[in-house]
Amino acid sequence: MTIVFSQARDTLADLFDAAVTHAPTRIARRRSGEAVLIGREDLLELTEPFAFRPAVYFEAAGVSVWLPELEVWGRGPDFESAREDLVDEVRQYVEEYLADERLRTAPNHRPHTPWVVKSLLLDDEELDKALFAEPASTG
């Protein structure tokens, strides 16, 4: 179902209730395109296939973790601190991405969107778990 922006504004409470019970709504605004109001749980499910594949490098002076999906890294004297640094760096990257249209429309950053959305939906503990989740294929 697609409704126009003014109608969505007037019925936002109903649309919100619908979204959180798995009924997303397409909202169209003239000259601005369309957006979708969708429940967090549904969006989490949709981003499930976008796994993170961090690579760990043990170096002479510490540990580095490279995250290819967002092209960012964390580093620290040991694995735990590198991991914590990576979570913070993902948070920083997501904030930059949301704040700057030039970054999120750049040809080399646009492909990061699914992982940005996934990170946005997760709290720190969930994000850490997702970053270091075992790939389904190895189980």
Partner: protein
């Protein structure tokens, strides 16, 4: 080898790099770095960060990712700029060896219970074999 001071020198000499603010306040590790961005004429946005620990050496693997994936250049160009030499175009970047996947390091340390020092000394193949051995013994 290169230090974070070398990386900072590169960013200052290469031209066009702007420092960007930390957008995630109150997090323990975000403030430990400076972040920089450079916008290329085609809209590509290069982005990197420099640790405040300027004299720390960047491991070869992480440096490879920073130079290739974040700075968008070659190791030769990076070294030339840091050394104040005119860059020689067209030189291939150095290959980085295969890392250990993040999920595997996490499992070996937190599920298997191996000391980080032991994991650090493993090749990716040895790490996978250790995990398979543990999984075999578990069943």
């Amino acid at each position: 080898m290169a230090t974070f001071r070398d990386l900072k020198t590169y960013l200052e000499r290469d031209g066009g790099w702007e420092e960007i603010p930390n957008l995630v306040r109150g997090r323990r590790r975000v403030g430990d770095h400076w972040r920089y961005r450079r916008v290329l004429p085609d809209g590509t946005v290069l982005r990197t960060k420099v640790s405040h620990a300027l004299d720390e050496e960047i491991g070869a693997d992480l440096l490879g990712h920073i130079v290739r994936d974040q700075l968008g250049t070659t190791m030769q160009h990076f070294r030339d700029v840091v050394a104040g030499r005119l860059p020689e175009p067209g030189t291939a970047s150095e290959e980085t060896p295969e890392p250990i996947p993040g999920w595997l390091v996490e499992r070996l340390i937190h599920t298997v219970g191996l000391p980080e020092e032991e994991v650090r000394a493993m090749s990716p193949e040895e790490a996978r074999a250790a995990w398979e051995r543990y999984r075999g013994g578990e069943q």
